[in-house]
Symmetry: C2
Subunit: 172 residues, 2 copies
């Protein structure tokens, strides 16, 4: 690692390196727990809060019975995937010495409302999710393709969506 | 439906009823597409935007190489699940004539960093996700349990996480 690489893409590789070293010395340190608390505000309005950050508001469009004051949960889910992919590109590009000038990700997914509305049993969730990634970089296309494959194979939100995760919802 | 039920829990059941009727008349109307656009802001900072709403900022904790200015993507994912469940409780409680006085959902999930950090192949995503739901209502426990089961069986984000969804990420 050169001294200039520390600030390539504005990514602090020293912090990531220290974490990798800590986990190599004590693999148990790789086990992390993440949390969020959601409070209902009436109607279809609610807000999620993690750690001490400002709450993120949620609502539904008017056609779905909401007041349309904020993105809805399935849009938030796509945003989480895009933000996760952005971290992946930034981290892996920096580790490989690739400068990113710009990065933009367009996400979309299809969802059939029949199950959500109680009209049929079945899958209430996304049937498919797509992300189109635009990268502005002087790196050649093979280098960017290798970067892309690394990101796909290491994305926490990407893997959470593409695998079946046990989700346990308990009523207190 | 009584006239008072229109505003029970501050939920507009008329709008949901109109959507259900429209879909019963034309099932194709149940097919919906949702979108989000993510722009990278340098480092591990980015923001997701849906429709005309304000962007939702994203970052990583300092220990993961970020500047810790916003919830990270895996926290956002838990928030999306909680917000989706909140809509489900509000909608199904209102349809069943159950008044909700308060609703709060605590979410957490475990994630092993080995794959994200490139130390091993495998699952970079959540291994498990749990949600603990607290409802303040005068309804009896059997009524609330039935409500709970209805919400679980119709949750778009819940089903997206608990099933394997095809996620296609393409480099432009």
């Amino acid at each position: 690692m050169t001294t200039t690489s520390h600030t390539l893409n504005d990514v602090d590789l020293n912090a990531v390196g220290a974490l990798v070293e800590a986990i190599q010395n004590d693999p148990g340190k790789a086990g992390t727990t993440w949390k969020s608390t959601v409070e209902w505000h009436g109607g279809f309005r609610s807000a999620s809060r993690s750690r001490d950050f400002a709450p993120a508001e949620s609502d539904e469009p008017v056609a779905l019975g909401g007041e349309d004051t904020a993105p809805n949960p399935v849009e938030q889910l796509l945003g989480a995937l895009g933000n996760c992919l952005a971290v992946g590109y930034a981290a892996n590009a920096t580790a490989a010495g690739i400068e990113l000038k710009d990065l933009r990700i367009e996400l979309e997914g299809e969802l059939d409302l029949h199950t959500f509305l109680g009209l049929t049993d079945g899958n209430a969730g996304y049937e498919t999710i797509r992300a189109n990634v635009s990268i502005d970089s002087d790196a050649d296309s093979e280098t960017l393709q290798n970067l892309h494959e690394k990101v796909i194979s290491t994305s926490p939100v990407g893997h959470t969506l593409s695998r079946a995760v046990p989700v346990e919802v308990a009523l207190a």
